[in-house]
Structures are given as structure tokens and as C-alpha cells.
């Protein structure tokens, strides 16, 4: 028996010796990149990651998808949950996709490092490089004037329309909400028994639609650290949605994307990221127009940015920076945009060969590009996600007539103020 253990000990010693010998003299730096990209976007991201890993022998980027296929689930909800849990466990990933309001929280909790640390150093960005970023995207990554993160998957809200239907009816996509009502009404098709066969517009009856119209009217969400969406403009925006719903020209549907492709409505508002799905599923040509705007032409953008976590080792942080810089090169952001429907984050990317050929195939995509100069995003406050939830809840109640418009907005504003009062203010 004693001999048996001796043999085991010798063998294990040899094994340890052999494994240590097989290692390359310089250790590979492994970095983890948590993201919420699945489906075709996930595949596109993995292609880029593989390319990077193949061309950078000393770095290995491990792309980790955080999301769920569970019944009624949202990838970004899972991503933030896991990020917060990892921070609590003091074991965050090296880098992740983050929304602007997450950045606000991570700054407050000293969880991330500003990318400015790398940008202004050797192997960083030149002023010319920085000028090449879409200004609106870069600005949303600069809370209090410090560049904490960099834009990655950005998309713009646009008005999708059934091109053949518009052609048949001799209509043009509406430029203002006033005009929108007329166009939507003309496109609504009612059959026998007053049953609506085709609506003018379909969209989820949530805070997004409210926000878009509210912004289009020149509305500002917060003023002096307090909710300001419950005034005249908010009232008008919500009243407009409810009126459209009551007049049966708007079909409120949480699966609006599908309803639109099935021809149940003539128009649909979503981000450019929906384009690949729409083109693949709709049987009619998809038209893209800017979202109608009343006082000013607005272009709301969405999507996440890239952040590096403080806990990572210095070598990992450096490797993560090399990866971010590589990922956001004009050619690569152009490739990413052409494969996902997101927008290139660099101005020069628009003229890169890969994107020029994409635009030849999708001339409609020029419209969101023209809007980039007017692009802006949601407020970056700490509690934005909760505020969105509160506004969404009340907006929906008002659209379906369960609550009065004024009361719904006031209720949402009251709760929002409670949340704003405890969030540090950021410009």
C-alpha cells in the first residue's frame, strides 16, 4: 500500500513538471468581455473577437454572453444583474458593454476606470482620432467632461414604413407629428364590421414612444434635478398616443416588430438595429425615414458603450484597451455596422469600402447617417432604468385608459423626483 502511494506521488510530480514545461515562456493575458449580444449580433461579435485573438498572440479575449433565453427575459437586465453581483463578489470582468446610466452608477461606486487614462497616452488617440468619432456618441460617454467609456453598438430611432404601400397611395413619409396623423389615417384600412385590417402605426405602448414624441416637441426630461415631463409637452405627447389608439390608427403591440412585418401596420418606429430582422422577414420593401419632429428634428439614439473595470490587473486593463482600440477602428466599426444594423461610431467609417458597398445595397441607410449631427440620447442619471420603468408603467396605463393622462404623468413625476433626489447629478 505504501508503495502504491509512492508511485502516485511520483506520477503526480511528473505531471506537474510536464505541464509547467509546456507553458509558453510569456503568459497569455486573458481578458473577459461581458456582453448581451446574441443571435446574428453575437455571431458578428465572435467573428471580430476571433480575428483579434488570431492577430494578437499575447492576448486572449474571452467573450461572455450574458443573457437568457428564459420566458419573458431581457439580455441587458441579465448583464447588469451579473455585473452588479460580480462587483459585490469583487470579481468583475475585465470589460463590458454598459449603458450611460450604468456608467453613472459605476463611477459613483468607483468600479470602472476612465478610458481617458489610455486615450491621452502613447498608443492612445490623437486629437484627430477623437474628432473622427461621431460627436454625439462621444459626448454621451463624457459624464462631467471626462471620457470614461467609448461608444460601441449605437443605433438611432427611425421611422420604418411599408415602401410599396406608400408608393401605391402616393404618400410621403411624414415629417411632423401633425402630418403623421393625416398619413396614418389615410393608411389605416378598415374592412367590414369596422374591423381594422391595417393600422397606420404599430409600436409597443411604452415609454419609448412617449419619449420620442415628447422629445420631438422640444421636451426636456429633467430640469434643475426634477422631473419636467409632466408639463404641457408631456401631456400633449401622451394625449396624441391615446388619441391615435382610440381612433384606431395606432395598434399598441408589444410584438410590434412582428406585426409590422406581417403587414398589420404601415409604419413602425424602432432603432436601426431592427433593420436586419425587418429585411429578412418582411415581404415588402422597407423604407426608412427620420422620426417625425415638430419643433426640432430629433434623433434619439440608443445602445451601449465599452467600459474597463477597476479591479482588473494592470496588464489586463492595458490588453482591454488594445482590444477596444482595435474594435473601434474605422474599418471594423464599419464592418460591425454593416452586419448588425448598428451605426458606425467613426465618421471616416462611413466612407470605408465595406460601408460604401453596404450603402449601395441599402440606400435607405443613408437617412439615419444624415441624422447623426442631430443625435442625442436619454438622460444619464443614476436611476434612469428605474425612472424608465416608472414612466413606462404610467404611460401604458394612460394609453389603455386605466389612468387619466395628467394623473399618470404626475404620479410618474412624483416617483421620479424621489429617485432623482438621491442620485448624484451629472451633466
Amino acid at each position: 500500500m505504501k508503495k502504491f502511494f509512492q508511485i502516485i506521488a511520483i506520477f503526480s510530480f511528473i505531471l506537474v513538471f510536464l505541464t509547467s514545461c509546456s507553458k509558453t515562456p510569456r503568459k497569455k493575458i486573458v481578458i473577459t468581455f461581458w456582453n448581451a449580444m446574441n443571435g446574428s449580433r453575437g455571431k458578428a461579435l465572435q467573428i471580430l473577437v476571433n480575428q483579434f485573438n488570431a492577430s494578437h498572440p499575447r492576448i486572449f479575449v474571452k467573450s461572455v454572453f450574458k443573457g437568457s433565453k428564459a420566458y419573458y427575459s431581457n439580455n441587458y437586465t441579465i448583464l447588469i444583474r451579473d455585473l452588479l453581483l460580480s462587483l459585490k463578489k469583487n470579481d468583475p470582468p475585465t470589460m463590458a458593454q454598459v449603458y450611460e446610466n450604468w456608467t453613472a452608477q459605476f463611477i459613483g461606486a468607483h468600479a470602472i476606470i476612465p478610458l481617458e487614462k489610455f486615450i491621452h497616452k502613447k498608443n492612445g488617440y490623437t486629437p484627430k482620432d477623437l474628432q473622427d468619432f461621431v460627436p454625439a456618441f462621444l459626448k454621451s460617454n463624457e459624464p462631467n467632461g471626462v471620457l470614461w467609456t467609448l461608444p460601441f453598438n449605437k443605433s438611432l430611432y427611425v421611422l420604418y414604413y411599408n415602401k410599396s404601400l406608400f408608393k401605391k397611395e402616393g404618400l410621403k413619409p411624414p415629417a411632423t407629428w401633425d402630418n403623421f396623423l393625416t398619413v396614418a389615417e389615410e393608411l389605416t384600412f378598415t374592412g367590414r364590421n369596422r374591423k381594422v385590417i391595417r393600422y397606420g402605426l404599430t409600436d409597443p405602448p411604452d415609454e419609448n414612444l412617449f419619449d420620442i414624441i415628447f422629445y420631438a416637441l422640444g421636451g426636456i426630461y429633467f430640469k434643475h434635478g426634477r422631473a419636467d415631463f409632466n408639463g404641457e409637452k408631456g401631456d400633449y405627447a401622451l394625449r396624441l398616443i391615446r388619441q391615435m389608439k382610440n381612433e384606431k390608427i395606432f395598434f399598441p403591440d408589444y410584438h410590434a416588430l412582428q406585426a409590422f412585418t406581417e403587414g398589420k401596420a404601415a409604419m413602425y418606429i424602432d432603432t436601426t438595429a431592427a433593420l436586419p430582422y425587418l429585411e429578412a422577414s418582411a415581404k415588402f420593401p422597407i423604407g426608412i425615414s427620420r422620426v417625425p419632429g415638430e419643433l426640432k428634428s430629433i434623433s434619439l439614439f440608443a445602445g451601449t458603450n465599452l467600459a474597463i473595470f477597476k479591479k482588473s490587473a494592470p496588464a489586463q486593463k492595458k490588453a482591454a484597451w488594445i482590444f477596444i482600440k482595435w474594435l473601434l477602428k474605422p474599418d471594423r466599426t464599419a464592418w460591425w455596422a454593416a452586419h448588425t444594423g448598428y451605426l458606425p461610431v467613426r465618421i471616416s467609417a462611413i466612407h470605408s469600402p465595406v460601408f460604401v458597398s453596404y450603402l449601395k445595397k441599402h440606400p435607405e441607410f443613408k437617412i439615419p447617417l444624415q441624422q447623426l449631427g442631430r443625435a442625442f440620447t436619454d438622460p444619464r442619471v443614476w436611476a434612469w432604468e428605474s425612472i424608465r420603468g416608472i414612466v413606462g408603467h404610467e404611460v401604458e396605463a394612460a394609453i389603455f385608459g386605466r389612468a387619466k393622462i395628467k394623473q399618470a404623468l404626475n404620479k410618474a413625476a412624483e416617483k421620479t423626483n424621489l429617485l432623482l433626489a438621491q442620485s448624484p447629478q451629472q451633466r
Binding site: S73, I80, Q105, A109, Y254, A383, E385, S386
Partner: protein, 275 residues
């Protein structure tokens, strides 16, 4: 003329049978809803059909009939005009519905099913003396009590709270729904339970992860919330920081919620009793 319109109890039951029986799908053809008229006036709300039973909205009915109707969720009884009846109620689009049959029987009002422009509707005739006879449960010292106030007095959900050294969790309201966002339905044999929750960091440290909520029913079964339907979004809470939203759970129809449990990392679970 009025006499002629009155139905005998026999015919009334025939109509209830009509509403609850084979004809219901046809009658409720338009989105499963049926307009309600009281003494010839529309009340502005519709009856809904579920499993062949016609349900009417509690509060609008109470207002239209000028009587007090109370729903006691714990004993599952409807108190109508001072008497209580065992029944089932359902929540739809945030409105509490009770069976039409229970209301009609209690107030002894004849129910008519009429057709106008090819659409069915329900008509209730309430004789004035009957409404006056019905003893009002609401105290006269309170001049204009709304039925919703009466519901709260009757022990509708009272906020429940629990706290440990880190968090204070309050359930401000709880409701059962068969529809979320006017769109999502629970799977067959299930129901949605919506809890309106607030969570506060009562420690003197920043809390990165504020925990995950689960629901326990009276049989000890545990459920995760449906994050895509809930509006409770995790966020970092600074000392004193508060967060709120609604949590949607899907539980079998036969079960009732007993406890809301907050699971934080590294601490003991925090339990809020819902009873």
C-alpha cells in the same frame, strides 16, 4: 311598461345560463367584452367572460347601482348591500371583476340580454326602493366615500415591510392579474401576481448588489420573477438610497403568495410576510 320589462326569476336564470353557457363565445364575440347598462344608461365599462362566466367590474357597478359592494380577498366573499356571498373574483387590466350572477342575485335585479345593431349588451333594472332598502355599509359620517375607499377600509392590501442591517423592503401593493401590459397572459392554469416593491439601503455603506427577489406560496413553492415583465431594475444603492418598481411572478391559480424573499450575496435572506 316597466312591469313588462321585469323578468321573473326563472327567466333571469335562463339569461344567466345564456351568459354562462354555450352561447357565451358568440355573445362575447367582440374581444370577449359586453357593454353594461343600468336603468338604460351605459356605465362605461364592459362585462368580461372567463370560463363561461360573465364578470362585471366591481367599482363601476357599485357606483352605477349606488350600493356598496365589497370584495374580501381573504375569505373570498363579495359583500353586497350588507350580505356576503362566496364567490371568485378576477383581475383584468387592473380592474377587479366579480360574477354578474352574484351581483344580480344579491340586488334582486333582473338582468336582460339585449341586441342593438347586432351587438349584445347587458341591462340591469334596479327599482328605486330596492336601492334604498339596501343598507349601505359605508358610514354616513363620511359624506362621499368612493367604493375604492371602502375597499381599502375592508382590509385590501395593507403595506408589509421587513428589514435587516442592510436593506428595508416594503411591499406597498399586491394584485392578481390575468393580463400584463394588456398583452401578456399567464400559461394555462397559472396567474400573474404583481408586487409593488420598494427597497432602501439602510446601511452606511454603498450596496453594489441589492439582491434577487423570490416569491414563496403557502405550500412552500418558490418562484423567480419574470424580469422581462417586471419593472424593478437593479441599481447600486448608496446609503439611504431607494429603488422601486413592480415584480411579476407567475404562480398556479390554486396557490396564494405567502412570502417575498430578498436574497443578497453574503447575507441571510430577508423575508417579508405577505399575510
Amino acid at each position: 311598461m316597466r312591469r313588462k320589462l321585469m323578468f321573473t326569476m326563472k327567466r333571469f336564470f335562463l339569461i344567466v345560463f345564456l351568459l354562462t353557457g354555450l352561447f357565451s363565445p358568440a355573445i362575447f364575440a367582440e374581444k370577449g367584452r359586453l357593454k353594461i347598462y343600468v336603468n338604460g344608461r351605459p356605465i362605461g365599462f364592459s362585462a368580461v367572460e372567463k370560463h363561461g362566466i360573465a364578470y362585471v367590474p366591481l367599482i363601476p357597478m357599485a357606483i352605477a347601482l349606488k350600493i356598496s359592494i365589497l370584495w374580501n380577498p381573504s375569505s373570498k366573499t363579495i359583500g353586497i348591500a350588507g350580505k356576503s356571498y362566496h364567490s371568485v373574483a378576477l383581475f383584468s387590466r387592473g380592474i377587479l371583476y366579480v360574477p354578474l350572477e352574484a351581483v344580480a342575485t344579491a340586488i334582486k335585479a333582473p338582468v336582460e340580454l339585449k341586441i342593438k345593431n347586432g351587438k349584445f349588451f347587458i341591462e340591469l333594472h334596479v327599482e328605486k326602493h330596492e336601492a334604498q332598502v339596501a343598507p349601505l355599509l359605508i358610514k354616513s359620517s363620511n359624506p362621499a366615500p368612493t367604493p375604492s375607499q371602502a375597499l381599502r377600509e375592508e382590509g385590501f392590501f395593507a403595506p408589509k415591510t421587513a428589514a435587516d442591517a442592510y436593506f428595508s423592503v416594503t411591499v406597498t401593493d399586491m394584485e392578481t392579474r390575468d393580463l400584463i401590459r394588456d398583452y401578456y397572459k399567464p400559461r394555462g392554469g397559472d396567474k400573474f401576481v404583481v408586487l409593488h416593491v420598494s427597497e432602501q439601503n439602510i446601511s452606511n455603506q454603498i450596496q453594489m448588489y441589492t439582491g434577487q427577489f423570490t416569491l414563496k406560496d403557502s405550500n412552500g413553492n418558490s418562484y423567480n420573477y419574470l424580469d422581462g415583465l417586471s419593472t424593478f431594475f437593479l441599481q447600486i444603492l448608496r446609503p439611504g438610497g431607494i429603488n422601486f418598481g413592480s415584480l411579476v411572478f407567475e404562480i398556479p391559480d390554486s396557490e396564494s403568495p405567502a412570502e417575498l424573499i430578498l436574497h443578497t450575496y453574503g447575507n441571510l435572506p430577508l423575508t417579508v410576510s405577505l399575510r
